[in-house]
Amino acid sequence: MTGTIIENLSGRKLAVLVTLLLLCQVICFLIGGLVAPMPANTQTILGTVCKDTSVMKNDTSKWFYNRGKGSCQTVDLGETHHDLSERDIVFAFQMPVPREGERFDYSRWQQNLIGVLQLDVRYHSQMEVKPRSTVTIDARLAYRNKGDPDDEWKLYTQSIEKRNLDCDIDVKSEEYLYNCSTIPLFELGSLYHDYYLLNIRLPVNTPDMNVHIGHLQDIWVTVINQNGGFTKVWLSLKTAFFPCIIAILVWFWNRIHMLERKPVLLEKMLLSLGISLCLLNAPIEYLTLQYDLPFMLLLGDIRQGLFYATLFSFWLIFAGEHMLIQDTSSQSSLKQYWRHLSAVAMGCVSLFIFDMCERGIQLRNPFYSIWVTDLGTNLALTFIILAGISTGVYFLFLCYMVWKVFKNISHKRQALPTMCSVRRLHYEGIIYRFKFLMLATLLCAALTVIGFILGQVAEGQWKWDETIELEYTSAFFTGVYGMWNIYIFSLLVLYAPSHKRWPVNENTSDTQNLSEEIEFSPIPERSEISSLTSFIRKATID
């Protein structure tokens, strides 16, 4: 009769294992905190106002930039120009910005580029910004690579986009600036080229286009990219975890195949959890160093979503399988849990649809945003609210099931002393197993939440010591990532079937127990069904 490893592991061995895993956890945290830089870097770029002297304005081979040979002729918007129309004004943003006398270029390790727009609008009593006005932007993005001549910009993408402009002002006095909210502009899933150039025009094609945006002074674009160092540390972590999880999965599946029975639901769930973690761990980001893969952001979301979905389902099923009351009729299967799992499925599907609507379309047009149109906003909100509701329902379900398990446990506890030793051991094993996982899960979840809140509360860097600077945000990410890997690693190890036989009853003096054991002699014959289910069933027969 076999149980899982955790039941048969001696306290000393368990302590050693847990210590080792905790050590790994601390290492993960420290790698993020001490080695890795901030996860993302921002550069705020002030737009250079260029004068477009060309006759054909739709010419996408003509680019405006402020550095290098062939840079544009600048215009000061502070003065009035009667000879200029809106078609002659181009805001040029050349990224990255030079520093230290050096013209930096983007590295492919920097992974992605997100652009945020900020408008500086000056107050003018005669041209106030209307509360919910839209600004129409003709945005063109070009790229250039190292070694290309200064003027050889090639079109990357181009789009005419509408954005909502939310501005308010405290002091309504001339020449004060409005407080305008930031406007998301673009998201590039891959940073394949070395230099990028953004040209923005504010067209007036119809009489009511761009008229209520007030007296525009400056346009700022903040570009956010992942830091190369962070990617390197992150990828090394992935590369380290990936083979570990694969190896432990193979070992786990071998263990199960060595048994004479078919794998039970919980073991299948563990396996799928391991596989989804492998998918998350697979360091396919290495490919971005060689190829242009703009779908990486989307793929990353999908991989994460898949992992969360399996993890959530696993918790549900784990609680369900430890319910200690079960109908004897059938081997438990996924079908039994359809009601519980539908919440997870619904949440995931709605998030997936939302993500496809936003980041999926951004594959075609990086300037796309679902939040601009009313229909899109409603659609996005619907999906997010649906996902939120399903998460709520899920957690209610989970709490209810855990509560029920605990009730059953306390109920069974009372009956424990009257049982025979074998059965008592089994029940104790089940209870121990469940409590162990509950403890580990709660610990992990609590640490994640606490870490997240700490990160939100204390922005920037943490200083424990004058000499040690800890990059908290990175430490949080690597720490949490390492933690869930270690969590699943230990689940796979500890909840794998054990080779050990049940200890032969030490206290067989009790004749009643003996007799009971004889009475239940058929059990060991069909022994290798997962201990818990078999015994629960027997208990119900009882």
Partner: protein
């Protein structure tokens, strides 16, 4: 054979003349750290060469007002002079905006060589001077940070929070810079503006005398205001755009808000004196060798309030040494034009009211018809369509 002695004589003569000139140039000792303000005039369009953006054609007279170190800084950081000029003219405009309705209205003179742009008021360590120092220093900080963001100055530095590295300009350092940028990024704009302003604006102030300490303190206060008026903006870009990953950055304030904050500090400026322990120090240290105050320690001093009941001034407070002169009457010795002919508001009881503005001299009231632009509509980008309205206006002018 007759050549060399004559040459020597000439040389001596030139040297003597130069020495005399040096003496003459050093005459206005107190405000000498602020001579660069004249650069504001250079920022005006007519002296700026439109052909080469970023490269400033500098009037030699303006260039002469810069100290040697300032010229070196300008040479080492191409494009920075245009930013400094813009910052200075921005500061002048802001000062004139803030003091529009006060007796002292921050008026500037036409630029004359060897004279201060704001007049001789700068020689006095009064409130107005404190504001001038603070706003100009803030202007340079702001404009240089802005130029960094635009990419107009290529030598802006990064704030490497995780790498402690001395700035070197060698090939190895360049490679290191690129490596550091690819590893940890580089996002700092205000840091360079702040540091540059310290280098450029504080050049003349060695922090030895009380007046120099006052200037240093006010310059620093101006810079601090630019830094603390910055606003944080954030963007969430985690899974599906959620806030699991959030990146924040600081946004440069509008210069108007810096000016507002400094004006508040002007109204609450504190009069200071040297702490007792340090008053004697410069007198005792009467050795021939110029005692260089280490740069780091230049900003580490504490000024004591004149009135011991007041609290000591903070980094963002403006400080002054002596009470302001009266700005009512023309005072050629201090370069004060007086409030004669200024317009005032007869209904106000504040400083812009006719009673205070005209210093009790009374005022003249005129009714005139003004043709003004009104009902303007703005058409992006550059077109403002206005109607011309003829309005009747009552104008009060101080006698």
């Amino acid at each position: 054979m007759a050549g060399p002695p004559i040459d020597m004589k000439w040389l001596c003569y030139i040297v003597i003349i130069m020495c005399l000139r040096c003496e003459a140039a050093n005459k206005p000792r107190r405000g000498r750290g602020s001579m660069w303000w004249g650069i504001a005039k250079a920022g005006e369009p007519n002296t700026l060469s439109p052909l080469s953006p970023g490269v400033l054609y500098m009037d030699p007279a303006v260039h002469a007002t810069l100290r040697r170190k300032q010229r070196r800084l300008a040479r080492e950081n191409p494009g920075v002079l245009a930013a400094v000029a813009k910052g200075a003219s921005m500061a002048v405009a802001e000062c004139q905006h803030q003091f529009k309705y006060r007796r002292w209205n921050c008026s500037t003179r036409n630029f004359l060589r060897g004279k201060n742009m704001f007049g001789k008021i700068v020689d006095r360590g009064c409130r107005e001077t404190a504001f001038l120092y603070a706003i100009t220093s803030a202007g340079v900080t702001h404009a240089v940070s802005r130029a960094c963001a635009e990419g107009a100055i290529e030598s802006c530095t990064c704030d490497y929070s995780h790498v402690d590295r001395a700035p070197h300009r060698s090939r190895a350092a360049t490679a290191a810079n690129v490596r550091v940028w690819k590893w940890g990024g580089c996002s700092d704009n205000i840091g360079f503006g702040f540091k540059f302003s310290r280098e450029f604006v504080d050049t003349g102030e060695r922090g030895k005398t009380l007046r120099e300490k006052m200037n240093l303190h006010n310059n620093e206060a101006g810079r601090m205001h630019v830094q603390t008026e910055m606003r944080q903006e954030c963007k969430c870009h985690g899974m599906s755009g959620s806030c699991t990953v959030k990146t924040c950055w600081m946004r440069l304030p509008s210069f108007r808000s810096v000016g507002d904050a400094l004006k508040d500090r002007f109204d609450g400026a504190s009069r200071v004196m040297m702490p007792n322990t340090e008053v004697e120090a410069p007198v005792q240290r009467n050795d021939a060798a110029p005692h260089r105050v280490p740069r780091r320690d230049r900003y580490r001093f504490q000024l004591r309030p004149h009135n011991p009941d007041h609290k000591t001034p903070g980094v963002k407070d403006l400080v002054y040494l002596e009470s302001s002169p009266g700005f009512c009457e023309k005072n050629p010795r201090l370069g004060i034009p007086g409030t004669h002919g200024r317009t005032c508001n007869d209904t106000s009881i504040g400083v812009d009211g006719c009673d205070l503005m005209c210093c009790g001299r009374g005022y003249r009231t005129e009714t005139m018809f003004v043709v003004e632009r009104c009902n303007c509509t703005f058409h992006w980008c550059c077109d403002v369509k206005c109607k011309l309205c003829r309005t009747e206006k009552v104008v009060h002018t101080c006698l």
